[in-house]
Symmetry: C2
Subunit: 453 residues, 2 copies
């Protein structure tokens, strides 16, 4: 029993009730929209075998995984001399498991393991924490939730369109009504590389283009020339970035027509937009733009992300089609498309814009003050009645000073307090105090239920 001041690991967080009710408010909306669109939940273990995770996220990812020490007398199983070869090799002998790094590799593993139990197209969502040993900094954590939604096993662009409609519905439900969904297609980016005569430099081009918002056109051009792109290629890329025409897709098609893959990308974008239009977006502004690149490595078709326009935050969700990734554990490739909501970023934005509700359904709505424990025999049946009506309610557990009880209700932001003394019990009218307005009135228990329900 140490009396040392306790702490938690760097980059991790506790969520006290006042944060939790807000996080759950967001998660509940996301989850209910996922379900409304026919998606079903999946959960996977926090720990995965290193044979599953290793080599999937590049060298950096391998380094940033939290590895779990083998149980028991693990040291006795390490061959002699291994410790001289450094930590990296040593780890392979004392650890077989790591905490999951994202929700996509576990999805791919699940698809491979349960092919015969899963109904394809597999519409699944997964809302669970992931862990990365990143250097902690503002807004970046070592444990954070991802809210992923994916469709595995369908090439139909209707599915891509539905995901965009989901973003529209989630943000609208969260009252974030001013947002833009940017859309592009990985094949368009390949097409651009082909058209400008720099095939094979897709990654360099994408990395540079992706920074347009941050560094401006000059910055992009500087980066492109550093990557040894010809002046001619850079100028042609600028033509793409400068498309201003009303009919963006038509202009894009014209510029990209010498590339087959590029034309295919433009065509896919056309079909996608067509599907999205049939579904009528509520608030989203949809923008097709070649300036969206996203982390290139595994996307193969549609890519998209969303930005809340009136908030000081980058993208709050993003994803795309990745037709070669899910099959990594199996023998055949399986098409897939999906995206992830950034819970922490969405929380920040809602907080910044002051859009959290004043009261949360999950919070206590009514507290009975406790004046005298002898009155409990009359008070408790009322408490039960209120709860049976579906109202979250509690009684202060002891007959403490009223000031203390009111201060408890106040700190817990309970909006109503019922005062029940012997007079009130005799008359059948309780005093209901409205904690927000400071007002009070005399009501029967049934009237109280009716009023605050």
């Amino acid at each position: 029993m140490s009396s040392q001041k306790p702490s938690i690991p760097k980059g991790t967080r506790d969520f006290l009730p006042q944060q939790m009710v807000k996080r759950e408010y967001i998660i509940n909306i996301i989850r209910s929209v996922f379900q409304k669109y026919g998606f079903q939940p999946l959960e996977t273990p926090a720990m995965e075998n290193l044979s599953t995770l290793g080599g999937k996220y590049g060298d950096e990812g391998d380094q940033l995984m939290f590895k779990v020490l083998n149980s028991g007398d693990y040291l006795s199983k390490v061959p002699d001399g291994v410790s001289e070869n450094g930590s990296k090799e040593f780890t392979q002998h004392i650890s077989e498991k790591a905490l999951r790094y994202d929700l996509t590799v576990p999805l791919a593993r699940v698809v491979a393991m349960y092919q015969n139990d899963i109904v394809f197209p597999f519409r699944r969502y997964q809302i669970q924490p992931v862990w990365r040993a990143d250097r902690p900094q503002k807004g970046r954590f070592r444990e954070f939730y991802q809210c992923d939604v994916d469709v595995v096993g369908s090439e139909s662009l209707l599915v891509d369109a539905e995901l965009i409609k989901i973003i529209d519905e989630v943000f609208s439900s969260l009252k974030l009504n001013d947002f833009t969904i940017k859309v592009n297609n990985r094949k368009v980016l390949s097409g651009i590389a082909e058209v400008v005569g720099e095939k094979g430099k897709e990654v360099d081009i994408c990395v540079a283009i992706d920074k347009l918002d941050k560094v401006g056109l000059d910055g992009v051009n500087e980066e492109l020339s550093k990557k040894d792109l010809s002046a001619d290629a850079i100028q042609k890329i600028n033509e793409f970035l400068n498309i201003k025409e009303e009919n963006y897709l038509q202009a894009l098609e014209k510029l990209i027509q010498s590339s087959d893959v590029g034309k295919e990308g433009v065509e896919e974008l056309g079909i996608l937009i067509d599907h999205v239009n049939k579904m009528k977006l509520t608030n989203a502004k949809l923008t097709v733009t070649t300036t969206l690149a996203r982390g290139l490595n595994y996307y193969t078709g549609t890519i998209f992300e969303a930005v809340i326009n009136n908030a000081s935050m980058g993208s709050v969700c993003g994803g795309g089609r990745y037709d070669n990734l899910i099959g990594m554990f199996g023998k055949q490739e399986i098409p897939a498309v999906g995206f992830s909501f950034g819970l922490d970023r969405i929380y920040e934005v809602i907080d910044e814009l002051n859009l959290f509700p004043d009261n949360f359904e999950s919070a206590t709505k009514l507290m009975f003050a406790n004046f005298d424990e002898d009155l409990l025999k009359d008070l408790l049946p009322m408490l039960i009645k209120v709860r049976e009506a579906g109202i979250n309610a509690e009684v202060y557990p002891v007959a403490a000073k009223l000031k203390k009880q009111m201060s408890y209700a106040d700190s817990k932001q309970i909006p109503f307090v019922a005062l029940v003394g012997s007079n009130e019990l005799e008359s059948g009218k309780l005093t209901l105090k409205n904690m927000t307005e400071g007002s009070q009135e005399e009501l029967t228990i049934d009237e109280i239920i009716e009023k605050i329900k």
Copy 2:
């Protein structure tokens, strides 16, 4: 990209949608009851510092914790020669964190860290996984959810009574209507040890008594004599175990009257039962019994657990008052009482008794078959309308063979399928197929919404 058959760590589980909807059905009921009683959510990190967890669960617990390897070149920080002293000492140099082992020690840490932010009495619930490197066996896992609910900072037995009412309400809501809640008080057990002249042997007595259900009275007596209790003491203990009187508490008080702590325990049980009676249990049978002991180490007052009478499973939830534990990280002791639902056990019982609902609110209720992608422009607005009515719905993403689409709906247990061909669009009447009954009828989209909502 290995093509090796993927697997998950021993003792961990994936939860595919068909299990997830059932788990969430249980969790949602538990959570909503917690909230109805004024409890608020808390979440803590999966990893805790070893300085927080170490020494809290005994030697065995320390061994069964999953320890997380330090990041970076951890090996360079290990002093020379340490590896010769074995794994246990070595671990202290390469690991500072472990996965949480339960939700109680994190609660105690949270109370110590945020004393000034927390409103006491702190009514919190926490539903999160914990990890233990136990030998995996039937019904025992290395990763499993705990659903904890505790009140920290109140000595009032009204709180203990409310927890018992919560058990009553949760199991009743889950339609598990035949269950018994056994109640005892740790002070009664101390009193028994005192009365039978074996003060100091509380633990031995409790461990033996706790086995009564399994080994019978002879078995208990055998165990007691192995622990060197006198024949006289054992005979007196048997008197306690044999109380058959209608008025159990009165009989118990008579037997225990020479022990002050024992009398206090009986008095507390009396007050507790009195409070519970005022709250009117719906289905629970409440039984006071000295034969309930529970893991003795940290309970100080009320103890209780629940058993589903018509199921082949031990206790499915249990807890009690532990007034000396929460203060472990601070300077003062803080009273607390709480309990934990065993999610896996409850799942098993509901499954065994066939009490899961046929349809889950979270599942897809309606699928639109896809006959022709040209019809999507008329079909998608209908899909949107159904979703806006709050009905979970989806459209099959491509115009595949109808048999394939129906087989998808069937495997996903979607209860209704809407068939929309060009004839249907012209007449405005869709064909709604009831997948459970095999029947079908012609309805407008509004009639469909009305029908299946």
